[in-house]
């Protein structure tokens, strides 16, 4: 159960085909501009800064850094995507 950290829109395009069904995906920084159809997490602070907090789609779950750390406890390894 890997954890994919997506840092950019192009990072998401590269990440999407390389995920397994039991992996989780977290959008961070400019990654929150991505528009995945599947369920993903997104860092609340990063949505807030960019004006995207009220523009997320229903499949996006906004999380804190504390939530993020909890996810790292149960998912491994983490893979960063920034294409």
């Amino acid at each position: 159960m890997a954890m994919h950290l997506v840092f950019s829109v192009n990072g998401w395009k590269a990440c999407e085909p390389c995920t397994s069904a039991d992996d989780i995906i977290v959008l961070m920084g400019d990654g929150v501009y991505a528009t995945p159809k599947q369920q993903v997490y997104a860092i609340a602070d990063d949505l807030q800064v960019r004006g995207m907090f009220n523009n997320t789609n229903p499949s996006m779950i906004s999380i804190s850094y504390d939530d993020f750390v909890s996810l790292t406890e149960s998912h491994h390894p983490s893979i960063s995507w920034n294409d």
């Binding site: 950290l5 840092f7 961070m28 920084g29 400019d30 602070d45 804190s64 850094y65 504390d66 993020f68 750390v69 909890s70 790292t72 406890e73 491994h76 390894p77 983490s78 960063s80 995507w81 920034n82």
Partner: protein
């Protein structure tokens, strides 16, 4: 759990440093330990001792120093990546006959092996990319 963090992004051409600082704080809040924070690629520039942060922007160097001071974090700057980008310790400044060192207090120059060693002895490796 034990975590190793790596930062790859430039302090002013990426958001990597503030993301990493917020993540470190959350890891420590959760009761985990951070084996080492490793600066690689253009991220090493945050360790320069001459950075003058604008008054209305975060002082990334000071934030790292404070975090390291409060929690005994090891801020490890890749020596090969650092030297070519102008980040030199007192020892390296002497070796290369430079007028002065440029490495901030709280940071240290280490070999790339220290990243691998930290990964090998940690449960988690998280990387904030360029």
């Amino acid at each position: 759990m034990k975590y190793t963090l790596a930062i790859h992004g430039s302090p002013y051409a990426s958001g990597a440093h503030l993301q990493a600082i917020l993540l470190c704080e959350a890891i420590l809040r959760a009761g985990h330990t951070i084996t080492r924070v490793f600066f690689y690629h253009d991220a090493v520039n945050v360790a320069l001792n001459t950075l003058v942060a604008p008054q209305d922007e975060a002082n990334l160097n000071a934030k790292w120093q404070q975090l390291a001071h409060e929690h005994g974090l090891e801020l490890a700057v890749c020596i090969a990546n650092g030297l070519k980008r102008g980040v030199v310790s007192t020892g390296e400044a002497k070796r290369y006959k430079l007028d002065h060192p440029s490495l901030s207090e709280g940071f240290e120059l280490v070999g790339l092996g220290q990243l691998i060693d930290a990964i090998a002895t940690s449960d988690r490796y998280i990387e904030i990319p360029t």
